[in-house]
């Protein structure tokens, strides 16, 4: 099957063509209540992740809170 290249938190990842954002997050076991997500620097409404199909060269950022001053 055709694979496409995306970047997740700065790391290259190969995914299948019909991969959705929700598939990626499930696959990475991301605790949805504790994160925020950007695709190509646009914040994604977490309720809509099922409807977002990932495209070649998409840049996904998944962030959470860590210790800081």
């Amino acid at each position: 099957m055709n694979k496409i290249k995306i970047k997740v938190n700065g790391k290259i990842k190969l995914i299948t063509n019909s991969y959705k954002l929700s598939d990626l997050l499930k696959n990475l076991k991301i605790p949805m209540k504790k994160v925020a997500i950007e695709v190509n620097e646009e914040i994604i409404d977490k309720k809509k992740i099922n409807s977002i199909k990932l495209k070649k060269n998409d840049k996904i950022e998944i962030v959470h809170f860590i210790g800081g001053g």
């Binding site: 504790k34 994160v35 950007e38 962030v63 959470h64 809170f65 860590i66 800081g68 001053g69």
Partner: protein
């Protein structure tokens, strides 16, 4: 005694000590120090989730955001765009509106870039954020931040993590005199007495991270800061005596044998 709460963006807090959650040896040490400090607000940073090591402990598992107010920061941001982007993400995680803006200008001294800070304060305020602003101790900049809608003014005592204590008391006093906004000393404190001095200058609170996290005994230091903030506030509220040059005996001369 009447209640003496810290009020930020109409939210009331009993504790005037805000604690940073960075630099602790472990998450559990951090959580325990916060508990001992009595802090009700803690600063947190926004960073990438580690997608290759998912067993790494999460801050939220140790510090319950329902019990302790998270104050997301923009540490590590060097311009307005990065800072605004970071805080939009922070809001998305769980609806946080009260935020700490910190736009740095130099990697060595970690002083704030006040031009970028002012720009970001304006943008964020227009988007509905309540922005607590890390800034230098310049009364003119403090005024400008206030004019664009800052929710709190947070001047540094000294460079972040330096432990040098308040370097410019006069400026802090001038800022205190000119603003009714919450005034919180952020960065540079080294020991508990520094916090007392800040409170005696009329500040509404202090934000401490390194001085507690890196103390040889963080739990004891957390308690020391808690007490120091309370002592300083009580002292400020009590109205200190005037300073005079010569002695003034505490025992009367009258009736001396």
């Amino acid at each position: 005694m009447k209640k003496d709460n810290l009020i930020i963006a109409k939210k009331k807090f009993r504790s005037r000590l805000i604690v940073g959650t960075g630099k602790y040896k472990t998450m559990s040490e951090c959580a325990k120090a916060i508990k001992i400090s009595g802090a009700e607000i803690v600063t947190v940073a926004v960073r990438r989730v580690n997608i290759s090591d998912k067993r790494k402990p999460l801050l939220m598992d140790y510090i319950d955001p329902k019990k302790i107010t998270y104050l997301p920061n923009t540490a590590g941001c060097f311009n307005s765009n990065e800072a605004v982007r970071t805080l939009r993400l922070a809001r998305e995680i769980g609806g946080w509106k009260i935020v700490k803006l910190e736009v740095l200008g130099d990697k060595e001294n970690l002083f704030p870039d006040m031009i970028e800070t002012l720009k970001s304060t304006e943008v964020l305020t227009k988007e509905g954020f309540k922005v607590m602003v890390y800034c230098n101790d310049d009364p003119l900049m403090a005024k400008r931040l206030e004019n664009v809608g800052a929710a709190a003014i947070m001047p540094l005592a000294a460079p972040i993590g330096s432990g040098l204590g308040i370097q410019n008391k006069i400026n802090i006093q001038i800022i205190r005199k000119q603003t009714n906004l919450p005034l919180i000393i952020d960065a540079g404190l080294g020991q508990a007495s520094d916090a007392t001095i800040a409170m005696e200058l009329g500040c509404d609170g202090v934000l401490v991270n390194t001085a507690i996290a890196k103390a040889k005994k963080p739990f004891e230091m957390a308690l020391a800061f808690k007490n120091a903030v309370v002592a300083g506030r009580q002292s400020y509220n009590s109205g200190r005596i005037d300073k005079i040059l010569m002695g003034n005996p505490s025992s009367p001369f009258e009736g001396i044998i």
